[in-house]
Subunit: 332 residues, 2 copies
DNA sequence: TCTGCCCCTGACAACGTTGTCAGAACAGTA
DNA sequence: TACTGTTCTGACAACGTTGTCAGGGGCAGA
């Protein structure tokens, strides 16, 4: 900037004014400065700028995701990026792998970089650092997909419980009475909610929640496949499966295909996935609108950055049941 | 930091020393400082630090992707993140949507933020800004998935042409002589290479490249579906399809299912995708190792950041043919 | 001609750090 | 005791920018 000023024969402050498009610089000087800028290939240094500027805004937000490579996370990421970009803001994204220690590391790295705001999918609902550290630093944080129970904070999530209830009722309506549940670890809030919805629907239909029909610690597609095989090998096997997550759905379908039961055992899965409609039968799912979730979270965050100091808001989005075939297989 | 110094009764420089874990601070003072740090909840400001520090490193790299939400891009992203994190470096990722103007915007935003290095999937092979701007700023850049032709630069890519050749030969070996090609816009380097591999294989087998069997501007799954239907409606329809990208593969499969031809028309696709093995028939694909691609790109970049000033390197990874059924359907 | 006002412009300090260097305190040696 | 060397500490300037404020010049009105 000093060099530009020297070439243009003005002061650095005038260069600063031109670069920031402030008013009150004569056209002639502005032109001289612009020319010097392109001559020297000068690029504005945002870090130095935000250091001095009021509020020290860095035009940067941080994103704590489960895994940037997972389709749900990356759909959130993209939606948030789009909102951020419309305001000239860049996004740091970090993967936490459902691991509290890793989550804390990423959080601290983001705070060190003085992000203006944070959006997080919390690994655990009772993380205290996720609330206290941003608060201490004066950085607003919005939670997506899962709330946090250790304090009040903005949150955008889907109606996991209601959606699951609807999905399981759909199976009941097809005549099923032995409906199995396969889900992620109950420590994950969404998995717990989805199980609760399953239990709701069964009790609404006056059906018992059979322990032998429930698998609540399924962590991967391969585990889902094994768990499904073990469910099917029982004396009184389920006639329908409710799967609590897309990887689990895929594993379960694989197991059904393996046993040649894909046309006789019904499946409803939580979360849509690519080509679910190309399978035979096509898979009935409860879809959640991840882009919308991300967009809303970003807008909540930017409202905070714009000065909104109102009470914490909770936004709940509905899921939608997409009927494709696998969930409409009637009981034999 | 000034506050911490006041509380600990030392100078700011001593606080700086403790925070950076420099040697040569007596244990007593270091303890006093540490206590003051946690008492006040002080957090190191990396932006200010990098402003002053030699070389002005920001411990940050930038990633220019096609779309953070696309599975290939996000797999790259994750692999790069993992290498970066092991060095305490955060990653900015931006989506360019194959659009040169958008790419330029993201690039400039990253340069303004003084990223230490860049990794890019270039939208076009002859972008000059993508080389000149980082060079001017002294920021090393590594290209992934596609090279850039307008100058010498590090690049990590897959053997698109060789892989496609292998895939098409596989179809030829199953007796096919009318093999269609469906691919993305030829302006995208990978699409052009894959088409070249297709043409190579046909000429190797002394088969003509029939214009009526080639569709080179397919941009989405829906377009692929339409294009496939039009190919099949011809008087002399193809007996096999070679699809140049996973969304195209999905669209083509959908069209085949629609016409009930999935068991009579062979398909080999470039790029693997989730549940390709659950379809009926399961889809034979040429898989590329995206995480490895990302890892290698990140390591090349960090080698540059560590001072390697050698000539530009090109790394080429092989693809692997995964035989699953759809590509082994023999000609009737 | 002088006063007052507005418009431009630039000098200077400050943002939160760290590199440089000099000084203080102490121990060891002649 | 005087000198040297080592270890620890702090004052100061600087990184690249912008907020603040004051000064210079031009113009209208008295």
């Amino acid at each position: 900037m000093r060099d530009v000023a020297a070439v243009a024969g003005v002061s650095v402050k005038t260069v600063s004014r031109v670069v920031n498009q402030e008013s009150g610089v004569s056209e002639e000087l502005a032109d001289r400065v612009s020319n010097a800028v392109s001559l020297l290939g000068y690029r504005h240094n945002l870090a130095a700028s935000s250091l001095r500027r009021a509020g020290g805004k860095t035009a940067t937000i941080g994103l704590l995701l489960e895994d940037v490579a997972n389709p749900f996370s990356s759909a959130l990421h993209r939606a948030i990026e789009d909102v951020a970009r419309s305001r000239g803001i860049m996004v740091f994204a970090g993967s936490c792998d459902e691991d509290a220690a890793r989550e804390r590391d990423v959080l601290m790295a983001l705070i060190s970089r003085r992000v203006d705001g944070l959006i997080a999918v919390p690994a655990s609902p009772d993380s205290s650092t996720l609330l206290s550290e941003p608060q201490r630093a004066g950085t607003p944080i919005v939670f997506v997909d899962r709330p946090i129970t250790s304090g009040a904070a903005d949150c955008v999530a889907v109606d996991n419980r209601g959606g699951s209830r609807e999905g399981v009722r759909h199976l009941v309506a097809a005549g099923h009475r032995r409906i199995a549940f396969l889900g992620d670890a109950p420590s994950i809030w969404t998995a717990a909610e989805r199980y609760a919805g399953y239990a709701d629907a069964l009790s609404w239909a006056d059906l018992p929640v059979g322990r032998h029909l429930v698998r609540r610690n399924v962590r991967s597609s391969a585990e889902a496949e094994k768990a499904t095989l073990s469910l099917l090998a029982q004396p009184d096997p389920p006639t329908a499966l409710f799967t609590g997550q897309n990887l689990i759905t895929m594993g379960a379908v694989k197991a059904l295909q393996h046993r040649g039961l894909q046309h006789s055992v019904a499946v409803v899965g939580f979360d849509d996935f690519a080509v679910a409609d190309l399978l035979d039968p096509a898979i009935t799912v409860l879809a959640q609108d991840a882009p919308e979730l991300g967009r809303l979270a970003a807008e909540l965050l930017f409202r905070r950055l714009d000065g909104d100091a109102g009470p914490a808001r909770h936004v709940m989005l509905p899921t939608s049941l997409i009927v494709r075939g696998s969930g409409e297989i009637r009981v034999r």
